[in-house]
């Protein structure tokens, strides 16, 4: 959107689709005072590209990032989980999740919490449907890639011990019951957006969400056998390096693409993303250097991801100096959470989903309230720490509670943890009948 915050479904422009207008007439009662926008090929070209970049972040970016960190006997399982989640979320998004997230429910009191089922199977979307200046096909696709990566992130928390069937069931339920509603609250015209909570590209919707869900899951599943004594060292950090690099580059689609337009705010978001990521990478590296005496590759890669996470909600609201601050705070904060807090509290968050995404997301979402610069984005003029904290707390509570319920439902239906012999043998062989030679 030009110089404004992320669009809501209420901004759909009927164009030649009278049918579409009819479906959404109730939704347009929301205070949207813009005249219908025309399609813009520059914006659309960028958003098509952004969508591909964000998809690449999951496959193979996140897949490789995680794959390198697990033991070799579980590497294909991690890859399979991320890839299968991509496929499953795609189908569920198209069938119903897009509607829940970005539809507009007939009644305003329902629409505060979810978008209804009017857009199931992408009903009503035609070649003329627009969201802002881009085709709704593209908007829905772009949002789909966010819906894909969020459950895929959670995989890291329960790596090396969760049943594949349980993963698929849990993630399907989680997408519909947790991700889609929260996306609606923050971006789809729901109550958090209406209250003024700011989240440019997904600090709450994606990172805090996945981080808290990960924490819940790793606690409910329990630690891996031998955690604390057995050697669980990453089997190939070169894969993690490739994955982290793909994440960094792809994240330009994630953050700059969240502007939904090819304009200077997208450029600002890109600059903020780069600065925060670099600052966080260095901050983690120096912190580790100081504590352990050696800067590690895993550390600098993790620092970069922490920065990417933290700047996500802020990317279209802060200036580069703000981004620098966010990066430094996230680099140090996430280092402490992953390398020290986890050990102190004793939970086995295998790949630090809570430490990096949960903590990083919280840091970024809160700092957005403090560092938002109205000169960069006028929508940040009323930013406040209090409002951001409200959004953060609501997200944490909802995700925490619902993820707990859903994991116990999953446990009752499929069971969630592999057996001891399966865990010893390795999930690649035990669950998939495959091995990396």
């Amino acid at each position: 959107m030009r110089n404004s915050y992320m669009t809501t479904a209420g901004r759909v422009t009927p164009g030649l689709g009278a049918l579409l207008f009819g479906l959404l007439a109730p939704g347009l009662a929301l205070a949207q005072s813009d005249a219908p926008l025309a399609p813009d090929s520059g914006d659309t070209a960028w958003m098509l590209t952004s969508t591909a970049l964000v998809l690449m972040m999951t496959i193979p970016g996140l897949g490789l990032f995680y794959a390198g960190m697990v033991r070799k006997k579980n590497v294909l399982d991690v890859c399979m989980q991320t890839f299968a989640i991509c496929a499953m979320v795609t189908v569920l998004w198209m069938i119903v999740a897009y509607s829940i997230a970005f539809g507009t429910a007939e009644s305003e009191s329902v629409n505060a919490y979810m978008g209804g089922f009017g857009k199931m199977f992408l009903a009503g979307i035609t070649n003329d449907s627009l969201v802002g200046t881009i085709p709704e096909w593209v908007f829905s696709m772009f949002q789909m890639t966010f819906a894909i990566i969020t459950p895929a992130l959670i995989v890291g928390a329960f790596a090396e011990r969760m049943k594949f069937s349980a993963v698929m069931l849990f993630m399907a339920l989680w997408l519909l019951v947790v991700y889609a509603p929260i996306a609606h609250w923050v971006w789809g015209g729901g109550f958090l957006q209406n209250a003024g909570v700011l989240d440019f590209a997904g600090g709450t919707v994606v990172h805090i969400n996945a981080g808290i869900a990960g924490l819940v899951l790793c606690i409910v599943l329990g630690p891996r056998k031998g955690y604390g004594t057995a050697n669980m060292a990453p089997h190939n950090l070169v894969l993690t390096y490739i994955g982290a690099s793909l994440l960094w580059v792809g994240w330009f689609g994630f953050n700059a693409g969240s502007e939904l337009a090819s304009d200077s705010l997208a450029g600002a978001a890109m600059m903020n993303t780069q600065v925060a990521t670099a600052a966080a990478a260095l901050a983690w590296m120096f912190a580790e250097w100081a504590v352990n005496g050696k800067p590690s590759a895993l550390g600098i890669l993790s620092g970069a991801v922490a920065g990417l996470v933290a700047v996500t909600p802020a990317s279209g609201f802060v200036n580069p100096t703000g981004a620098l601050i966010i990066g430094i705070v996230a680099g140090v904060g996430c280092y402490l959470a992953a390398a020290h807090l986890k050990k102190a509290l004793g939970y086995d968050d295998s790949l630090d989903v809570f430490g990096v995404h949960g903590v990083g997301g919280i840091i970024g979402a809160l700092l957005t309230g403090i560092l938002a610069d109205p000169a960069i984005n006028s929508a940040g003029a009323d930013a406040s720490l209090g409002l951001q904290a409200y959004g953060v707390i609501v997200t944490i509570i909802y995700t925490g509670v619902m993820s707990t319920i859903l994991i116990f439902i999953t446990k009752a239906i499929t069971g969630i943890r592999v057996s001891d012999p399966e865990e010893q043998e390795g999930l690649d062989l035990a669950l998939h009948g495959e091995a990396v030679q």
């Binding site: 590690s296 992953a338 390398a339 020290h340 630090d352």
Partner: protein
């Protein structure tokens, strides 16, 4: 016939191979292995998780030779593989009952 089983530091392999060629050894087997003796391992740290790795990478050499060559071979290995620091390795000499050349069917010392 004797099997000479030697464990040496990996970076010494090329030197040892040249020394063995110089004393007339025409074939040998090399494999990568891990082990420890008095040389302790190392510690790896990943995001605060410390792993003490006790096993140190080594190279295992296996050479079957005639009895009269044993001393020359053992000396060649020991003298080139030695660095004076902990972890230089060990050499064992074992008895070999039979040897056969697959291509020709020769056996005994003719197979070496």
């Amino acid at each position: 016939m004797k099997l000479i089983l030697a464990v040496i530091k990996p970076f010494k392999l090329d030197e040892v191979r040249e020394a063995l060629t110089a004393v007339g050894v025409q074939g040998l087997m090399v494999s990568e292995t891990k082990g420890y003796g008095r040389q302790s391992g190392h510690t790896e740290i990943y995001r605060g998780a410390e792993y003490v790795v006790n096993f140190v990478p080594k190279i295992r050499l296996e050479i079957v030779t005639t009895d009269d060559q044993v001393e020359k071979v053992v000396d060649a290995i020991a003298n080139t593989a030695r660095t004076g620091k902990i972890g230089d390795g060990k050499i064992f000499v074992l008895d070999v009952e039979q040897a056969h050349r697959v291509r020709t069917g020769e056996s005994g010392e003719d197979a070496l």
